[in-house]
């Protein structure tokens, strides 16, 4: 029963974060929200008995993707300042 409560909580937070990621005006907040979606997806993979997928999603989805997004945002900010 406790599993069901926790997984409903995780799903609700994921869906809320998805709406934030799409409708927030600030791009940085949107990227952080998509990182949180990956994080909670990997916790759900543990519930679904898939530890391999959980490790992959944790290391790639919430570290490497977020880093690449921020590199690109940094480049765009530099060019904006220059103009």
């Amino acid at each position: 029963m406790i599993h069901v409560i926790i997984i409903i909580l995780l799903s609700v937070v994921m869906i809320v974060m998805a709406f934030v990621a799409i409708h927030h005006k600030n791009l940085q907040v949107a990227v952080i929200a998509s990182g949180i979606i990956s994080l909670f997806a990997s916790v759900i993979y543990i519930f679904l008995a898939a530890p391999d997928v959980a490790i992959t999603e944790a290391s790639i989805g919430s570290v490497i993707t977020v880093s690449i997004f921020f590199y690109v945002l940094n480049k765009i900010r530099h060019e904006d300042i220059k103009k």
Partner: protein, 123 residues
């Protein structure tokens, strides 16, 4: 009760995330926002595939002391969707990086991230 089981809740979450990601891709006008929506869509598809492979009251497909070696086929979940998703996640990050590179090139060309500004392919 059909609703309150782990795999059904994950399926509902995956379906809603898929629809939200699709909505983001077709309704947003900022290119970076579209790429973020694409990554949400990616995550939702992975979640759906893993949830379809789950079998209730079974454990991860790794045979050690807590799984009976001779009766493994009745104690583990389906390893095939997991192997598929493992590959798909790594390809997903490659696709995201490639999309971001194209976004950067487009920004250099027109110094704008709004999709409405790019009229050269419109007819």
């Amino acid at each position: 009760m059909k609703l309150f089981e782990i795999e059904y809740i994950s399926l509902i979450a995956g379906f809603i995330l898929l629809i939200v990601g699709l909505w983001g891709i077709i309704s947003q006008r900022n290119i970076i926002k579209m790429i973020i929506s694409f990554s949400i869509l990616d995550t939702s598809v992975h979640l759906l595939l893993v949830a379809v492979g789950y079998i209730r009251n079974r454990t991860a497909p790794i045979i050690d002391s807590s799984v009976n070696k001779l009766n493994a086929a009745n104690e583990i979940t389906d390893p095939l969707p997991q192997a598929l998703v493992l590959t798909a996640i790594v390809i997903g990050v490659g696709i995201t990086a490639l999309l971001l590179t194209y976004a950067l090139k487009l920004f250099r060309q027109n110094s704008s991230l709004e999709i409405n500004q790019y009229k050269s392919l419109k007819w």
